[in-house]
């Protein structure tokens, strides 16, 4: 008989090892899945994890993509992780990402065709502010009326998508675009563009912002009273109130920070890799970041690694679809397995497994 036995203290070794174990298990189960689809499992796994980085044929294209895709995931996930640690569940980062992009792009386009150094910094501010304000809607409703922030923030994603469509077709539509939906391309507007800063790496301003966010979150959580209060609120809300934490302040702060970072991610995307506001500008970064946050155990360094890993499975997954004809649904299932196994093996850090013979009743 197998029994689970609660550890007196969580095992630090297993806390570090479970993500690695989860990746290994995902490779095995994913390999079986691909084999069942009639593909060579080893080749599929290699295509997903190895080729995007080291295959001479693809790496020159896909290696920069790694940072381009990982940066918004990390930026958003860092913000979400603060709230998740405090038990404040912002599920609407996708919406805040969209609104941030719209606000930032709108500021840039308002100056067109003026060229000035202050335009891009203003856009960054507008992007962060837009995301923050969008996230303050669930925050204020929760503080004033006790609404559930999960539902409100999630529903606001769909509102944001409608706003996005309206902007792409209306206010922000390119006047010289021959009536096609979508804004001017910001990449062709130097003062508003977010270009690749180091050639061949994919590193744009958003990548730097993501790294800064990782460091700032690390310092906040480990060295600052506010980070301590965030952790305390998540672990023992009553003790937090006893310690003097004001729950409403924390709700506003956590939702505000995560909204702001999501808005920043949107701005960097619209001014950089995407280039313009289009109807289908958003690409699920806001939802995927939730997975990244948990994959990284809500720890800043973990999120950095998880964001890179997630980006890799995206790029590798596309490559596998393209090269091996693996259906996109199978790739999505593969990505889902990663979260599944991570949560599954998580039990090992708090419990130990005991095997024992079933006792004969005396």
């Amino acid at each position: 008989m197998i029994t689970l036995e609660r550890r007196p203290e969580p095992s630090r070794m297993w806390q570090a090892l479970t993500p690695v174990l989860a990746v290994v298990l995902t490779m095995i189960a994913g390999g079986l899945l691909f084999a069942a689809l009639g593909k060579d499992p080893f080749e599929a796994i290699r295509t997903i994890f190895w080729d995007p980085l080291f295959n001479p044929q693809f790496a020159s294209y896909s290696r920069p993509q790694l940072l381009v895709k990982a940066a918004p995931l990390i930026l958003i996930a860092i913000g979400l992780s603060l709230g998740f640690r405090a038990g404040i569940w912002n599920i609407g980062a996708e919406g805040q990402y969209i609104i941030g992009a719209i606000c930032g792009a709108a500021v840039g386009l308002a100056f067109y065709p003026l060229e000035a150094v202050y335009i891009f910094p203003l856009m960054v501010l507008a992007g962060a502010l837009g995301g923050t304000l969008w996230a303050m809607i669930p925050a204020v409703l929760k503080i004033r009326f006790g609404t559930n922030e999960i539902l409100v923030s999630l529903m606001l994603v769909y509102v944001a998508e409608q706003v996005l469509a309206s902007m792409a077709l209306g206010a922000l539509r390119n006047p010289d675009g021959g009536g096609f939906p979508g804004s001017r391309n910001l990449q062709q507007y130097p003062s508003a563009a977010n270009p690749e800063l180091i050639a061949g790496t994919g590193a744009h301003w958003g990548v730097f912002a993501a790294f800064i966010a990782v460091i700032a979150a690390y310092v906040l959580l480990n060295k600052h009273l506010l980070g301590y209060q965030i952790k305390l609120t998540g672990q023992a809300p009553r003790a937090a109130r006893f310690a003097g934490v004001r729950p409403n302040m924390l709700i506003a702060l956590c939702l505000g920070i995560s909204g702001g970072l999501a808005g920043l991610a949107g701005l960097f995307e619209v001014a950089g890799p995407a280039g313009q506001i289009t109807i289908d500008f958003n690409s699920f970064y806001g939802f995927t970041a939730i997975i990244v946050a948990f994959l990284g155990r809500l720890h800043p360094i973990g999120i950095l690694l998880a964001g890179l890993l997630m980006a890799l499975t995206y790029i590798g997954g596309e490559l596998a679809q393209f090269m091996l004809g693996i259906p996109s649904a199978a790739i999505q299932a593969f990505q889902g397995m990663l979260l599944f196994f991570l949560l599954g093996v998580d039990v090992l850090s708090n419990f130990r497994i005991r095997f024992k013979r079933k006792q004969v009743a005396s």
Partner: protein, 501 residues
């Protein structure tokens, strides 16, 4: 002797601890048998095995001459074993009869059940109205619901786990009268408690457990409470002594403090008035659920009020917990895990929880972990907290050790005023004595101390003045010296609803 239950060599081990090691004893029909021991001595595990909640690793039991090995509580109940738990399992939104019906295998019609409840409650002198909502009952009345639920089964053996911890002295008398009546009818009673005077008043024999083993079997009426305590703890107990400080100015004053309840079945505070002087311990007694949590929250600042709380004459009602700590009002809530301390955080992190203001553990919000660790180590050393180190998480400590840490954390911050709720609840005798001594020493150094407790012996031991909390109202404080149990009982509101409802 007409033996009902024999327990022979029961052992039960949990990972890392042997809860019961070769425990043997027997109970006769009509005997009240005490099971005595500190927290963690194995009393709960033993009765859980008798009640079928836990299966023993080895050993055997016989009930009324037949082998007895209940695989689940239902089997134990069918054999005539009933148990009243320390923590009630009642639904507040249902009435008494509905609650009792929920616990029955084949409940009769509610109207018949209500009649039976009234019959039993009158026969045993336990007044209870079957139609009342449990949420509106006092703790003592809730216990009656649990007892009547057991009596309806007509048990041969009744197990009672710490039954008097929630009762006023008068209610204890009513309970004892009921238990004596049951005893005269031939029911055996297994009575678990650590209140020695009660055991001496009620029980015919006692089995004393220490670290899972039977260390003595005796007639408690022939031993003094002190002898029993020393058998339980296994060493000579230190007696607390007051420092006898001179009383100073009034530090904390509460005037006409009212506070609505936090939850539907909570207790509002109604026009509470008291004042505590420096160097004084004010004991606030009362049965659980009469406003203790609310009073602590209003004083610690967790729940601000518009007016009514003063420190050195200055109004402080609107200040939050952090601001109150800055001016010297510290507190220790009743619930150790989850309120006074975060269960999954280390002792160092828990030292920060209340200590960062007065111990200056943070500058501009940036934490000084070295200083915090030193503070946590100081608490651990000075209050003899048994733990592998300050990086251990709070929930890995025993109740007594964690409580010493929680109290020590506040005491070492040199409070002007310290308010504690149930400072020794569920704490072993040695740790409880250490905590009481620390509170006395603190008052001796000139702090004003408010001790809210349900343990009247404790309050009589350490308080200078005593006040009783009943239904959210606080009685006038009177000098504790010379108070009799009867007077205290009347202050606590006597027995709730003694006259049949």
């Amino acid at each position: 002797m007409n033996v009902l239950l024999t327990v022979d060599g029961l052992s039960k081990a949990y990972p890392g601890v042997i809860a019961n090691d070769d425990v043997s004893f027997s109970i006769a029909r009509g005997e009240v048998h005490a099971l005595l021991g500190e927290n963690g001595a194995g009393k709960s595990t033993l009765v859980k095995m008798i009640y079928g909640l836990v299966q023993p690793d080895s050993g055997s039991m016989t009930l009324a001459g037949a082998p007895f090995a209940p695989p689940e509580p239902r089997a134990a109940r069918a054999s005539g074993v009933a148990m009243v738990f320390q923590h009630f399992s009642l639904f507040e939104a249902l009435n008494v009869a509905e609650n009792i019906a929920l616990g029955m295998e084949n409940p009769p019609h509610l109207r018949d059940l209500a009649r039976k409840i009234t019959e039993v409650s009158e026969a045993y002198g336990l007044p209870l109205d079957p139609a009342r909502l449990v949420g509106h009952l006092s703790a003592g009345e809730r216990q009656r619901v649990e007892i009547i639920r057991c009596l309806l089964q007509g048990p041969k053996l009744l197990i009672m786990d710490e039954p008097t911890s929630v009762l006023t002295p008068q209610e204890v008398e009513i309970l004892f009268a009921t238990l004596r009546k049951l005893k005269d009818e031939g029911t055996a009673i297994l009575y678990i408690s650590h209140k020695l005077e009660e055991i001496r008043a009620l029980c015919d024999s006692a089995t004393i457990l220490r670290r899972g083993k039977v260390v003595a079997t005796c007639d408690p009426r022939e031993k003094s409470a002190r002898e029993l305590a020393e058998m339980m703890v296994g060493k000579v107990l230190q007696q607390t002594k007051a420092a006898g400080a001179d009383l100073g100015d009034v530090a904390l004053e509460v005037k006409d403090l009212s506070l609505p309840p936090a939850t539907q079945f909570g207790t509002p505070l109604r026009d509470v008035n008291f004042a505590v002087q420096r160097g004084e311990i004010l004991g606030i007694g009362g049965v659980a659920g009469n406003g203790q949590d609310e009073l602590l929250a209003a004083l610690s600042g967790e729940r601000g009020t518009r007016e009514g709380v003063f420190l050195n004459g200055q109004p402080i009602s609107k200040l939050g917990p952090t601001a109150r700590r800055r001016i010297g009002i510290l507190s220790g809530p009743e619930e150790r895990l989850g309120h006074a301390a975060a269960p999954d955080m280390s002792l160092t992190e828990n030292a920060l929880l209340t200590g960062h203001v007065r111990e200056e553990l943070a500058r501009n919000g940036f934490l000084n972990w070295t200083k915090t660790r030193v503070f946590a180590e100081r608490v651990v050393n000075e209050f003899d907290v048994r733990t592998p180190g300050v990086s251990s998480v709070a929930r890995s400590l025993s109740g007594g050790n964690l409580q010493k840490f929680v109290i020590g954390r506040e005491v070492l911050q040199r409070p002007e005023v310290l308010i504690v709720n149930q400072p020794t609840w569920g704490v072993d005798a040695a740790a409880a004595a250490a905590i009481r001594q620390a509170l006395l020493d603190l008052a001796g150094q000139g702090s004003a101390v408010v001790v809210i407790s349900q343990d009247l012996d404790e309050l009589m031991e350490i308080s200078d003045r005593f006040a009783a909390l009943n239904g959210g109202r606080l009685s006038d404080a009177v000098p504790a010296a010379g108070l009799t149990l009867d007077q205290i009982g009347l202050m606590l509101g006597g027995a709730h609803d003694l006259e049949p409802a």
